[in-house]
């Protein structure tokens, strides 16, 4: 694809992943020689409805968003899901554990009837997605990797192995050795194990690997003192949309 027209879209999200795109700084200038950014709310006031690539941040949490994302799919040749909300539903899916009515009341109080809401879901559950840029937030290098892959018409190199691989290659001390629980063994790598590197347990923001051994991982968490309920709530932080896998 030669210098495709690229548009960014925000759905239910904090827009932090688009902010990450803006921090690519030194490579951003080189990047805009390859792509023509025609809509990007966080960076420019111009807008266009004529685009080849739609980069979509956020999950689908309202009926109106379903129509909107379908229109985007109809217009774009390529749809990229940007960040955990778009790729796996992300933390927005936490609300799916409750009655929607209750959620509306908690969030909007008296105004509850003014705002509709539906269980949150990744954009893939509404439209076909071509590329996924995982994480909360995304990794800059992966954004570039996916952009290059689209332009070169090749599969991006996105790992389907767990965070442990990257963590161990960096020679980190395993957090389980220090009594810190970690989703690393079941979570897709590609983040360069940034959280475990800074002694924070992985929370699974990049989603599950394709074939996670959840029962063994659950045992591991319980050996580290977590009850079944606590273990499941760990998984649910980002994995609310895959609830059935955890129970």
């Amino acid at each position: 694809m030669s210098r495709p027209r690229v548009a960014f879209f925000s759905f239910s999200s904090c827009e932090g992943c688009q902010l990450v795109v803006l921090t690519i700084e030194e490579q951003l200038l080189e990047l805009v020689t390859l792509i023509d950014i025609v809509s990007f709310r966080e960076a420019m006031s111009e807008k266009s409805n004529d685009y080849d690539i739609a980069i979509v941040e956020g999950s689908i949490t309202r009926d109106s968003e379903i129509e909107r994302i379908k229109t985007i799919r109809d217009t774009a040749k390529v749809v990229v899901a940007l960040g955990a909300c778009a790729t796996i539903g992300g933390i927005n899916c936490l609300k799916n554990q409750f009655e929607m009515k209750k959620v509306q009341n908690i969030v909007y109080g008296k105004m509850a009837d003014t705002f509709d809401t539906i269980p949150a879901r990744p954009i893939e559950s509404v439209i076909k997605v071509d590329y996924w840029i995982h994480g909360c937030p995304i990794d800059r290098d992966e954004f570039i990797e996916v952009t290059k892959a689209i332009l070169l018409e090749k599969k991006p190199r996105i790992p389907d192995y767990p965070v442990c691989v990257e963590c161990q290659m960096k020679e980190n001390v395993c957090l389980f050795e220090k009594g810190i629980v970690c989703m690393g063994p079941i979570t897709r790598a590609g983040c360069k194990a940034i959280c475990p590197t800074y002694t924070d347990g992985c929370v699974g923001c990049r989603g599950l690997i394709d074939d996670p051994n959840l029962s063994s991982h659950k045992n591991l968490l319980s050996e580290h003192g977590l009850t079944v309920k606590e273990a499941i709530s760990q998984y649910m932080l980002f994995g609310g949309n895959s609830k059935e896998k955890f129970e």
Binding site: Y161, V165, P185
Partner: protein, 349 residues
């Protein structure tokens, strides 16, 4: 003159002097109880406190990621090989890791010479520190016959009290001792003390594997349907850590990385792991080792059967890193002993 003594308090000087000519990598503490090989200003080896480093020193010969080629595609492809090497000293390599490097030497020289490895190896001086006590509970070097090492290093030092009893194996080893170390010639009584301490260590290193190591290929040949693999299939997370920390794992993935100009780029290799799901997947999507149990069986067979048969040497060096790093406590020695036991039961029936 053959063997020399280097006073403990002067080892730091030897270490520092080597830095005039080499990049020197030694052992340092990363966090309490965990060590790594790194470029350090000072000699910081924990000596009697030593436990195997998180990653073995193979990372300086076969790095986690390595560029193999650099290319430019416009107007026509133009490719240059990249073979990086520098003069380096690996200081404080224990016998298990020396064996690990010896085995990698065999691998990367066999059939076709892999210059990306061999040229780094040729520029590398290995200073060993011998072990008089097992370093931790997972060590089983003696079970695989790798406590003794008589090849694959340049210098070997043994802590005999307030001095290191030091011998060299290669002319380069002798040269750097003469050039950079402050030493005394070893007297007969020093040699006697050294030999006595070495012979006394035998009893301290337990034979944990319940057969002679040379029998293992046969046991593993008969263990394809051993129930142990089903049990491990349920337990193994498929996280790849056992591969990553292994001194003799050398599988790698190869990939191209284009720069943003989309005209030039690199072909690189990165450590891969046979316990990961996609390791044996072909382009049509078929996975020739789809279950975790099969992949773990493959890994054990690489150590104790396939490569062991081809090279007539155990490809497990007994460092215990895989056991220590496994999040779900899959123990290599226990697994091997289970295979042996199940084999014997099978034989009796």
């Amino acid at each position: 003159m053959k063997d020399v003594l280097i006073k403990k308090k002067e080892i730091g000087l030897f270490y520092k002097n080597l830095k005039e000519e080499f990049t020197v990598y030694g052992v340092k503490q990363k966090e309490k109880g965990f060590y790594v090989f790194d470029e350090t200003d000072e000699f910081s080896d924990p000596l009697e406190e030593y436990k195997p480093t998180i990653l073995p020193p193979k990372k300086f010969l076969f790095p986690q990621q390595e560029t193999l080629l650099r290319f430019n595609t416009q107007p026509h492809p133009d490719i240059k090989p990249v073979i990086g090497s520098k003069k380096q000293v690996l200081f404080g390599v224990r016998p298990c890791d020396i064996h690990g490097i010896r085995l990698l030497d065999k691998i990367f020289n066999a059939d076709h010479e892999d210059k990306n490895y061999t040229q780094k190896r040729a520029m590398t001086i290995i200073v060993g520190i011998d072990c008089l006590e097992p370093c931790y509970e997972h060590a089983h070097c003696a079970s695989v016959g790798y406590l003794e090492v008589d090849d694959g290093y340049d210098i070997m030092m043994t802590d005999i009290g307030d001095t290191f009893y030091t011998s060299w194996k290669t002319p380069q080893g002798e040269e750097i001792i003469r050039k950079y170390a402050k030493f005394l010639e070893a007297k007969n009584e020093d040699t006697d003390k050294f030999l006595r301490m070495k012979s006394e260590r035998q009893d301290r290193f337990e034979n944990k594997i319940k057969t002679n190591v040379s029998n293992l290929p046969l046991f593993f040949k008969n263990a394809d349907n051993d129930p142990v693999w089903d049990e491990l299939n349920d337990r193994c997370l498929g996280c790849g850590r056992c591969n990553i920390v292994c001194p003799t794992c050398y599988c790698f993935d190869v990939y191209d990385c284009m720069e943003l100009n989309l005209a030039s780029g690199e072909r690189c290799r990165q450590w891969d792991a046979c316990t990961l799901k996609d390791f044996a997947v072909v382009s049509t999507g078929e996975n020739f080792r789809p279950s975790r149990g099969q992949r773990l069986r493959h890994r054990f067979n690489r150590k104790f059967n396939y490569l062991m048969t081809k090279y007539n040497a155990s490809f497990c060096v007994g460092c215990g890193r895989c056991t220590r790093s496994c999040p779900v406590n899959i123990d290599l020695v226990e697994t091997v002993n289970a295979v042996i036991k199940n084999n014997r039961i099978h034989e009796k029936q």
